[in-house]
């Protein structure tokens, strides 16, 4: 007689680590089956599946955090669940749940592909080999692209198509870069790739730089794309009908979190090795360009939504500066500061984007009366990394790490980015509450009445409360998260 329990028995810890993804994968499959007939079932199913997997991911993160950081490999050699990946998984799943709950359009199949995108991003955060990386990016990009298509208004379809093309090109570049870099190092493993290349000094000097650059640009293109397009004006100049803002938040805030967890693993290397120095040089340039480009582009955007979307690129640049010293032993675990920064950024960005259209639809007098404007303003202060919201803690940690490693160009970049970020996020506060109201339409010119949904405001308020508690109290990331040894 076959014992079913024995057949499916797996080591307890590995199973615990794995089950969030099993539930999510099952959710995607069941959601696809449920999508055959129109109706709200796919969305309800996905919401329930995401809630369950978030709870399971949270439990396994708490398990992992106790004691020394374990690097479990539940899906073979291609994926590894270390503390940063476990934490990123919690954030990805929780954000996906909030996004699905706040999507207002009737196309419920979009939530299924969004769950597929979440699965891809989780794999990305766990990828340990070039093969795993490619699989993860393919799932993440195709899921996100399909979700964007489902929730884009007709005016926004060309923008989504352009993004899809950009992402495909990026994926191709990533595949080339990953394959060639792995070939140079003699293994598909991402961890220690730079060290392995350092053992082969006879290789052409520029080859690794070219291959890594190719892969890096590809990764950036496929994951970050050109975010401004999602909030671009349609032919009628009506930017509001392009894409659901919750989805804009998903596309701009969550991929960087997964990326940060991946880079945390990739940069586990000795900084003395020449390839690592080379990678750090590339990173400095990339961080500078993303940071300056993102924030400066945000400054000239005509709407709050576009400003938030573009500023996300600047935040990614800011986070990248943390990896400049990832290999050094400077008191914090490699890459923990940038990961913390993005973990704080993701809920703030989501909260702000969930209610941004509500804020834009309010007249000046109403802005000063409504809870929505207070919540939005507080989230902007958080995004600007000002106390008492949580943004200041990772920024502080980032500077600490860079200074302790004597990396002054990186510290200068962080300062410039923080200053620009303050400018980008605080200037709308004045426009929001200006007393004369000379730019805000009133009366009939104000357009349709309030469009805010109570659910979105309550979600944003809850995220704000989380950020406030995190900013004032002890960070939940320390030290149990395993990010700080």
């Amino acid at each position: 007689m076959v014992d079913v329990v024995e057949v499916f028995a797996v080591p307890t810890v590995a199973a615990a680590v794995w089950r969030a993804e099993i539930v999510l994968a099952a959710t995607v499959l069941l959601g696809l089956l449920a999508s055959v007939r129109p109706g709200p079932w796919p969305r309800l199913l996905v919401a329930a599946g995401l809630a369950a997997s978030t709870w399971l991911a949270l439990a396994s993160w708490l398990d992992l955090g106790v004691g020394p950081a374990l690097a479990l490999r539940p899906l073979g050699d291609h994926f590894v669940v270390d503390p940063p990946a476990a934490l990123a998984r919690v954030v990805i799943l929780a954000t996906a749940l909030l996004v699905v709950l706040n999507l207002s359009r009737p196309d419920h199949r979009g939530s299924v592909v969004l769950a597929l995108s979440a699965l891809g991003l989780i794999w990305l955060s766990e990828a340990a080999t070039a093969g795993g990386l490619l699989l993860a990016v393919a799932a993440a990009v195709s899921g996100a692209s399909l979700a964007a298509w489902c929730y884009a208004a007709p005016a926004g379809r060309p923008a989504v198509r352009r993004w899809h093309l950009t992402a495909t090109l990026g994926f191709g570049l990533l595949a080339c870069g990953a394959a060639l870099s792995s070939g140079l190092s003699g293994s598909l493993e991402l961890v220690g790739l730079l060290d392995r290349v350092a053992l082969r000094p006879y290789l052409p000097a520029g080859a690794l730089a070219a291959f890594l650059g190719c892969g890096g640009v590809g990764l950036a293109l496929s994951l970050l794309g050109e975010p401004g397009r999602f909030a671009a004006a349609g032919p009628a100049g009506d930017h509001r009908e392009v894409l659901a803002p919750a989805l804009s938040a998903w596309l701009t805030a969550v991929p960087p979190v997964a990326l940060a967890a991946l880079l945390t693993r990739f940069f586990q290397t000795s900084t003395d090795a020449p390839p690592a120095a080379l990678a750090a040089g590339w990173l400095t340039w990339a961080a500078g360009i993303l940071l300056l480009g993102g924030f400066l582009a945000a400054l000239v955007q005509p709407t709050l939504e576009r400003r938030l979307v573009w500023a996300a690129t600047g935040q990614v640049g800011l986070a990248l500066t943390g990896f400049l010293v990832a290999g050094s032993t400077s008191g914090t675990a490699p890459g923990s500061a940038p990961l913390q920064l993005l973990l704080v950024f993701a809920p703030a960005q989501l909260g702000a984007l969930l209610i941004v259209r509500s804020v834009e639809s309010l007249t000046t007098a109403e802005r000063r009366r409504h809870l929505v404007s207070y919540v939005f303003a507080s989230l902007l202060v958080g995004l600007a990394a000002l106390p008492p919201l949580a943004g200041w803690r990772p920024r502080f940690a980032l500077l600490q790490v860079l200074l302790s490693a004597d990396h002054y160009p990186g510290a200068a970049l962080v300062l410039v980015g923080t200053l620009l970020g303050c400018w980008v996020y605080l200037r709308p506060l004045v426009d929001l509450w200006r007393l004369d109201g000379d730019r805000a339409p009133t009366g009939d010119a104000a357009g349709p009445a309030l469009s805010w949904s109570t659910g979105a405001v309550m979600t944003a308020a809850a995220l704000l409360a989380l950020l406030l508690a995190w900013g004032l109290g002890m960070s939940p990331l320390l030290p149990e998260s395993g990010l700080i040894p």
Binding site: W392, F396, L399, L415, L429, W433, M474, P479
Partner: protein, 499 residues
């Protein structure tokens, strides 16, 4: 009996008031104003108790509260006051309370205005009491954000431009300061834990500085970062360009707070942190500090002479007197530092009174154009008289609060930098010039059109101006009451910086 956590109560009560205001409906303006006034009155009462209980001989910090906050990042919740900070805390509580009364006529955006005033008060008080440099920086950021919003939202079109400049300058300064604080943190060792620390008391002890900090060039860079952060809010020449625009259109409670509270933080920061932690770098920067002080004293006086708007004149006058105080700070001599310590308090009281009186004038005629004013003595003799007292105090008339500070400052600076002392004297002469011009234009002559229809003096105006006038006279006649409080701490500071 002294309640536990006195300093925490003093700092956090205004913030609690701001939160309470947040919960009130905007239409209930009187309730909002009353809540604000009550929550500002409580810290004032509490600080009076602290003034009585303060041990004037002791040079260490008193009423200390020390808790671990985030040990892995090195943060501590560490508060305390000494002879340098306690008078400023008392003055800040008083001026913040009176500023709320001055702002009583604000009718637009009352809820946000009063809430932000209270947040600003919390930021200022927290900065003055913080003994952990990370905590100090957090309160500093609170001041910057609150000030930026107040200036930008209630300052009209000019205020918006002024706010943008203020944000850029102060945030750049704050980040430079943060970099310097982090550099200090990395290289000051906590003897108990063996790790780096933000603890200011440990940073003051040079024995805790590691070898990296022994390099003079490193210490100068760190000092530069700290000084830049503090200089923006004083403001020091040429970082003052955001200030004049603010005065033209903002409700005068804002410049009152900017001059009496926020500006003090810059000089306080220099005396509390930059000078004693890095005395050799301070000595290196001393000529520059004296030069900037001298330039501010003269430039402020000259700029005030050429203006017609009383609020702008007062802004430049405040800038000039702070330049004199900066000369005292840079003198490194006992009398110079005592003078600067005295001026920090006296300047706050004088300019709070002047801006409050100017606010009353603007409420009457809607403008502060000197050419269209006159006859205040005839129509509102008490208001005119109190304005005159403040104007006389502003240029250092003996018997009023500014004079002892100026005299000690000049005595300290003359020995080492006579040119800077002469520039300070020139600034005071120019102040005499613009003060007498203001008295001539505003108080004398025929009453301005429309002045007859206005009340001679409101009760709340008297409640604001009279206590300030009495304090100006008290500190002018009996300066020792303040010197007793600050003397021991400043003498310790002089020993540290080797004056």
């Amino acid at each position: 009996m002294l309640p536990a956590h006195s300093l925490s109560w003093i700092i956090l009560l205004p913030l609690g008031g701001a939160l309470a205001i947040f919960l009130l409906p905007p239409a209930r303006r009187e309730a909002i104003k009353t809540v604000a006034l009550c929550t500002a009155a409580l810290p004032l009462a509490q600080v009076l108790v602290l003034l009585v209980r303060f041990d004037r001989v002791e040079t260490t910090f008193q009423f200390v509260e020390h808790y671990t906050w985030a040990p892995l990042l090195g943060f501590e919740y560490f508060l305390g006051v000494d002879g340098l900070s306690l008078p400023l805390v008392a003055m800040s509580c008083l001026v913040a309370f009176l500023a709320l009364l001055v702002a009583w006529s604000v009718e637009e955006g009352v809820k946000g205005f009063y809430a932000l005033m209270l947040v600003l008060e919390t930021g200022v008080l927290g900065t003055l009491c913080a003994l952990d440099t990370a905590l100090l920086w957090l309160f500093w950021e609170l001041v910057i954000v609150a000030m930026f919003l107040l200036v930008s939202l209630w300052g009209g079109e000019e205020g918006r431009r002024s706010g943008r400049q203020f944000l850029l300058f102060s945030q750049a300064g704050a980040l430079a300061m943060l970099l310097a604080l982090l550099a200090l943190h990395q290289h000051v060792v906590n003897p108990l834990s063996g790790g780096p620390t933000f603890n200011l008391v440990l940073q003051l002890d040079q024995a805790n500085h590691d070898l990296w900090l022994a390099d003079p060039s490193v210490r100068r860079w760190i000092f530069g970062g700290l000084a830049l952060g503090f200089a923006v809010v004083v403001p020091v020449f040429p970082l003052h360009v955001w200030q004049p625009r603010l005065h033209r259109s903002a409700p005068l409670a804002i410049p009152m707070l900017a001059a009496a509270l926020v500006a003090k933080l810059g000089l306080y920061g220099l005396l509390r942190l930059a000078w004693p932690v890095l005395p050799d770098a301070a000595a290196w920067a001393r000529p520059l500090v004296m030069t900037l002080g001298a330039i501010a004293a003269v430039h402020g006086g000259l700029a005030a002479l050429g203006r017609r708007d009383l609020a702008v004149i007062l802004g430049y006058g405040s800038f000039s007197l702070l330049g004199v105080a900066l000369v005292g700070v840079g003198s490194f001599a006992r009398s110079g530092l005592l003078g600067a310590g005295h001026l920090l308090v006296a300047h706050g009281l004088v300019y709070a009174m002047l801006f409050a009186a100017a606010g009353g004038m603007r409420d009457r005629l809607g403008h502060l154009d000197l050419e269209r004013w006159g006859g205040l003595y005839q129509r509102a003799p008490i208001l005119g008289g109190l304005l005159t007292v403040a104007l006389l105090a502003a240029w250092g008339l003996p018997g009023l609060a500014v004079f002892p500070g100026v005299a000690m400052t000049l005595a300290g600076a003359l020995g080492s930098y006579p040119a800077a002392a002469l520039a300070a004297v020139a600034g005071l002469l120019l102040a005499a010039g613009w003060s007498s011009h203001v008295i001539l234009k505003v108080c004398l002559g025929e009453p301005a059109p429309g002045l007859e229809a206005t009340p001679p003096l409101l009760g709340r105006e008297l409640a604001v101006l009279l206590p300030l006038a009495l304090l100006l006279v008290w500190l002018g006649v009996y300066p020792r009451s303040l010197a007793d409080l600050t003397g021991a701490t400043l003498a310790y500071l002089v020993r540290v910086v080797g004056g």
